[in-house]
């Protein structure tokens, strides 16, 4: 594999050379840029597509009021939610979980892999940082549930914590598998071992395929994505934490769930589904021609497309599978996903050994 593709150009240094301002300003600018131009629009598109998909599953029309075919429904929902507001003044427990959420939002955006150009930070342990964000999100949800003085809230909080602990293990083992293949845990090295065609992706390997399923399943359990969202189910006798949420806090909660889902899908695409490598060797051509802006935007669109497709597939599971009980979900993680991920790890080790010795 060629060295050019490994040596990625961090665009902080680029802009520092051009603008000559201090790097934290540029980092702040980059964060707001990523949120304003990438994550929020993707969230709007994703919520619209998911609602349409659910409507198709249900033999319904789906959103059809705002704009043509309800294309502006997410905007309308956001405006409506932002108008509503809780009457009682906010307590310190609310401040606590809102603080946790904010921490989870802004901590690792810089690490999020959005293309070789848009890599703000590319450390050698980037792959483990999303766990931090996901666990902080889960911790914030647990605090929020425990802060409600209601039986469903307590149960919901404890269930969220249990699921987070159960789902983290198989996902970490799956990341180890990818690390074995890439020889490192930085996004660039993980991208470097993959090619544009699906047969040169990481999932092409049977063990990595198992690891991929373990990673996605573990992420669904860790983040509480339906149908494995026992802590968040809406009829609150099941233990839903969000039954007392509305207004701005509810929109914050919904956005946090989308953010976790999006983060997880992006790193899944980066690790397994041939990260941001453009088809037809476009990456190489554009890099050789040094048209970095075009390259970055193309890579961004490509990886976002893959991510949205993966998210749609994952969220369609909830339409055909009923919601499980919390002990079923944790059992699924400990008794099915973890053994299979370990199997993948061992198998891939043996595979590498055979490949080197033979």
């Amino acid at each position: 594999m060629n060295l050019e593709s490994i040596s990625t150009i961090s665009w902080i240094s680029l802009m520092q050379d051009q603008l000559g301002t201090s790097s934290w300003r540029i980092a702040l600018f980059g964060l707001s840029l990523i949120y304003g131009l990438i994550i929020l629009p993707t969230g709007a598109v994703m919520s619209y597509l998911e609602r349409k998909l659910r409507a198709d599953f249900h033999a319904r029309i789906g959103p059809s009021r705002a704009g043509h075919a309800g294309i502006f429904q997410p905007l309308a929902d956001t405006l409506k939610l932002l108008q509503k507001e809780k009457y009682s003044r906010s307590t310190w427990t609310e401040m606590l979980w809102i603080g946790f959420y904010t921490m989870a939002f802004y901590s690792i955006v810089a690490v999020m892999p959005l293309g070789s150009i848009a890599l703000l930070v590319n450390t050698d342990m980037s792959a483990f940082l999303p766990f931090w964000a996901a666990l902080v999100l889960a911790f914030g949800t647990m605090v929020f549930g425990l802060s409600q003085d209601s039986v469903p809230g307590w149960f919901g909080g404890v269930r969220v914590a249990a699921q987070a602990l159960a789902g983290a293990f198989p996902a970490i083992v799956a990341i180890l598998c990818v690390g074995l293949q890439a020889g490192g845990f930085s996004w660039s090295s993980m991208a470097a071992v993959q090619g544009a065609s699906p047969f040169s992706w990481t999932v092409a390997n049977p063990f990595e395929l198992i690891a991929f399923f373990a990673f996605v399943g573990g992420g669904m359990i860790l983040l509480g994505i339906p149908p494995l969202d026992t802590g968040l189910s809406m009829p609150d006798i099941h233990g839903g934490v969000i039954s007392s949420l509305y207004g701005k806090r509810y929109s914050l909660f919904r956005f946090s769930r989308f953010y976790g889902f999006f983060l997880w899908s992006v790193i899944a695409v980066t690790m397994f589904l041939g990260a941001w490598i453009l088809p037809f060797g476009l990456s190489e051509i554009l890099r050789l021609q040094e048209r970095f802006i075009l390259l970055g935007s193309l890579e961004l669109l490509w990886i976002l497309l893959k991510t949205v497709l993966l998210m749609l597939v994952v969220s369609s599971v909830a339409q055909v599978v009923p919601r499980g009980r919390v002990d079923h979900v944790t059992d699924f993680s400990w008794k099915v996903l973890s053994p299979f991920s370990l199997l993948a790890l061992i198998g891939y080790t043996v595979w590498i050994g055979l490949r080197t010795f033979l």
Partner: protein, 378 residues
């Protein structure tokens, strides 16, 4: 009474009162739970929040109005209440409705049974959080409601039966639409089974949850599908045939799942699907050859009177044994109407069923018992 399970935390015992109005309850009722961790160790039920003085209203209104009030005994299956009152009054007055009216009543009651069971499937789907299944079933129940509207003009409170017959003859094209709806529903049942009934997650949720043993069925007088799911084959349509059920040949599905999973929520769900299939076959055979003739004995005016006497009628509603005790003193209105509803005995078993459940399974078990507080409180 409380058998400790493996998941039992031996945490502090907390008490939790749910109700009278709550999203996961089947209706206005109050549940007093004692929880050990998330295991329920005891639960008491308190009902009576939906008492509308229905039996008193019968005594204050004319005989014809009593049919309208019987509609609201169980607003899901309105025909069963009407049928009970009509049969009781006809037994006292010695009226025998013409065979065509009997056939129309039979078709209506079977259609209502199917729609009630579909409604039950919707409740179960909501309890396990399977939205897609819920939407499909509601869409198919709409077909049955359209049939009701075509025949009687209303979708829920039909007010179609009359003393000594029915209000009007079948409209043209009704029988054909009944048969085509039966064919459609048989296709849908296959879909339901693929989608939910034999889904592994659903099996894990429902099998072995909320079991009712034969002894409990006999002790608390549980009837209908809940009893047949526990293996007790008792059906009024067989023991006391009414409105020419003896002329139709059908077999009552009885669950025979032995061992540890007998009479659980999944059996109760499955037995209803089997009953839907059974009613579909019954309708397909029966709807073709309904006898011709008059559909009403005599049109009863506002001064309709039933001679002095009393009658006790049992019919098989969608939930089980619906009894109606009717007493007339020859006046312009009934002197005493009393209903024996299946839900009142299904409620009795709740304190025994909920013991040892996880709190997450409580809505599922309550839904699987098919409670209807309206007919329990009256």
């Amino acid at each position: 009474m409380f058998k400790p399970t493996l998941e039992c935390l031996n945490a502090d015992v907390t008490t939790w009162e749910i109700g009278p109005y709550y999203s996961a309850l089947p209706g206005p009722m109050k549940l007093k739970l004692r929880l050990d961790g998330e295991i329920i160790i005891s639960g008491q039920v308190e009902t009576g929040f939906l008492h509308r003085g229905l039996e008193k209203a019968f005594e204050l209104n004319s005989w014809n109005s009593s049919i309208i009030y019987a509609d609201h005994l169980d607003s899901e299956g309105a025909v069963f209440g009407e049928l009970a009152v009509c049969l009781a009054a006809e037994e006292i007055a010695g009226i025998s409705p013409p065979p065509r009216a009997q056939a129309i009543r039979l078709i209506l009651s079977e259609l209502t049974r199917i729609s009630c069971h579909l409604n039950y499937a919707v409740k179960i789907g909501r309890a396990v959080g399977s939205e897609t299944f819920t939407h499909y079933v509601l869409r198919d129940r709409e077909k049955l409601l359209d049939l009701f509207e075509l025949l009687t003009g209303a979708r829920f409170s039909l007010s179609f039966l009359r003393f000594g017959g029915v209000k009007a003859d079948v409209t043209e094209g009704f029988i054909e639409r009944v048969i085509e709806t039966c064919d459609l529903l048989r296709v849908r049942l296959k879909e339901y089974n693929d989608l939910l009934t034999f889904n592994q997650v659903f099996l894990k949720r429902t099998s072995g949850v909320g079991q009712i043993s034969k002894e409990q069925v006999m002790r608390w007088g549980i009837t209908g599908p809940n009893a047949r799911a526990s293996g007790v084959s008792f059906d009024i349509r067989k023991t006391h045939p009414y409105s020419e059920f003896e002329k139709v040949d059908f077999h009552v599905p009885v669950s025979n799942s032995k061992g540890t999973h007998g009479g659980d929520a999944h059996d109760r769900f499955l037995i209803r699907l089997l009953e839907i299939e059974q009613s579909l076959e019954m309708l397909k055979v029966f709807a073709d050859k309904i006898p011709s003739g008059p559909f009403l004995e005599t049109k009863s005016g506002s001064d309709f009177k039933v001679p002095r006497g009393e009658g006790w009628i049992r019919i098989e509603s969608s939930r089980g044994f619906l009894g109606c005790y009717l007493m007339s003193d020859g006046g312009l209105s009934p002197s005493r109407v009393q209903f024996r509803t299946p839900t009142s005995s299904n409620l009795l078993v709740i304190p025994e069923v909920v013991v040892g459940l996880k709190i997450e399974d409580l809505p599922l078990v309550l839904a699987s018992l098919d409670l209807n507080i309206a007919e329990a409180d009256r």
